[in-house]
């Protein structure tokens, strides 16, 4: 077969496949709607679980700022994970906000400084992981419409993990050692597992 004939055949096959896909899925969800849905789902999970646990809103400026940082990390990380435009500056921004949020939850936790840091450790870790499942799963599914990127997957993990840490901050923040080991380390684990999972999930698209 000549190169021209081969090219013609390749293009005809690609056109037929693309038109069949158009016919099968005539509608599409804009990425901004996906982003809003994702951030909203995380907020709903946090609000629902916090209400079910009877968590109370802490008084004072520092806890409020810490919670605002966690909420900001959640929204910003999930939004930027899906946003088509990628720039090193945006990644740097969200990584900085995430690190700041982690430092804030660790260093502002001082409700029971003399309590052994292992108290309720396993249940906190499990709750953190459980609360991250829904947002992380939705985020990774949404990421199938973009080219595989470890950084995007890490952002999904960072944003999803913030949901659990937010609820735990309302419910349990005895001291820095406990929060670091049983709240923040599982959060980092969620980031890592999101990156690992994305590598095995086949993408549906390679769009930026």
């Amino acid at each position: 077969m000549t190169p021209a004939a081969q090219r013609h055949q390749t293009l005809a096959r690609a056109r037929a496949a693309a038109l069949a896909e158009c016919a099968a899925r005539p509608w599409v969800i804009p990425w901004r709607w996906m982003g809003l849905g994702l951030v909203g789902a995380g907020a709903l999970v946090a609000w629902g679980v916090a209400a079910a646990l009877g968590a109370s809103w802490p008084g004072g400026v520092v806890p409020a700022l810490t919670l605002a940082l966690l909420a900001g990390t959640h929204a910003l990380a999930l939004w930027l994970a899906l946003a088509p435009r990628r720039t090193p500056g945006r990644w740097l921004l969200i990584v900085s906000v995430g690190i700041l949020a982690m430092a804030a939850v660790i260093f502002t936790s001082n409700d029971h400084p003399h309590l052994p840091f292992t108290t309720k450790g396993a249940s906190c870790g499990m709750l953190e992981l459980a609360l991250s499942v829904v947002p992380a799963a939705l985020g990774l599914l949404a990421l199938r419409f973009a080219a595989p990127s470890p950084m995007r997957a890490a952002m999904v993990g960072l944003g999803s993990g913030a949901v659990g840490v937010f609820v735990l901050y309302l419910e349990c923040s005895p001291n820095a050692a406990h929060v670091g080991l049983f709240h923040v380390v599982p959060w980092l684990f969620v980031v890592g597992i999101s990156v690992a999972l994305q590598r095995v999930i086949p993408p549906r698209s390679y769009a930026p």
């Binding site: 690609a14 496949a17 038109l19 896909e21 016919a23 899925r25 088509p84 090193p88 769009a207």
Partner: protein
């Protein structure tokens, strides 16, 4: 593209007629395996259809579709490398020594293709998008999530290597 996003399938067909051969040309310069080219062209256009919700209004279409083709190619090459198939410099150099085709232009194209496939993938991608498809360094950088400076360095190194590999043929490059 905006008409296609709003559901006009004929607009997609017009886009395909215009960009199909260009995408084929890009992928053909990035990989030498014909069946892989076939798959990648199809994957690129399937991606355009599936991810049309990620297209931003007012965005230039050419850099967007070439970014998709480049991402798909990169992923396919990575997967192939993982499977440890024999590809890369050895085969490219062997291709340089292969018998000449009948058409004189085809001989030059073959030498350029072989030299291109001898480049590391990031350099090859930068050269092909910049030289053959006229994308700016800024557009290539935006599609890869890197800085224009980094793309410029890759392209420059690619051009240097091509000059060495192609000699007089490469005088027009860059």
């Amino acid at each position: 593209m905006e008409r296609f996003v709003q559901g006009d399938t004929r607009a997609f067909e017009a886009l395909f007629d215009r960009y199909g051969p260009k995408v084929h040309g890009f992928v053909g310069r990035m990989v030498s395996d014909a069946s892989m080219v076939d798959d990648l062209v199809q994957t690129t256009f399937l991606s355009v259809v599936r991810a049309r919700g990620r297209y931003e209004r007012g965005q230039r279409f050419a850099p967007w579709i070439f970014a998709i083709a480049a991402n798909a190619t990169r992923d396919a090459l990575r997967r192939r490398q993982r499977r440890r198939e024999v590809v890369g410099d050895d085969r490219s150099l062997a291709a340089l020594a292969a018998p000449a085709p009948v058409e004189p232009d085809a001989e030059r194209d073959r030498q350029v293709s072989a030299a291109l496939s001898a480049l590391p993938e990031p350099q090859r991608e930068a050269v092909v998008l910049h030289w053959f498809h006229g994308l700016s360094f800024r557009e290539i950088a935006a599609s890869r999530g890197t800085t224009p400076g980094a793309v410029k360095v890759r392209a420059h190194r690619g051009y240097e290597r091509l000059r060495l590999l192609l000699g007089n043929l490469a005088e027009d490059l860059e």
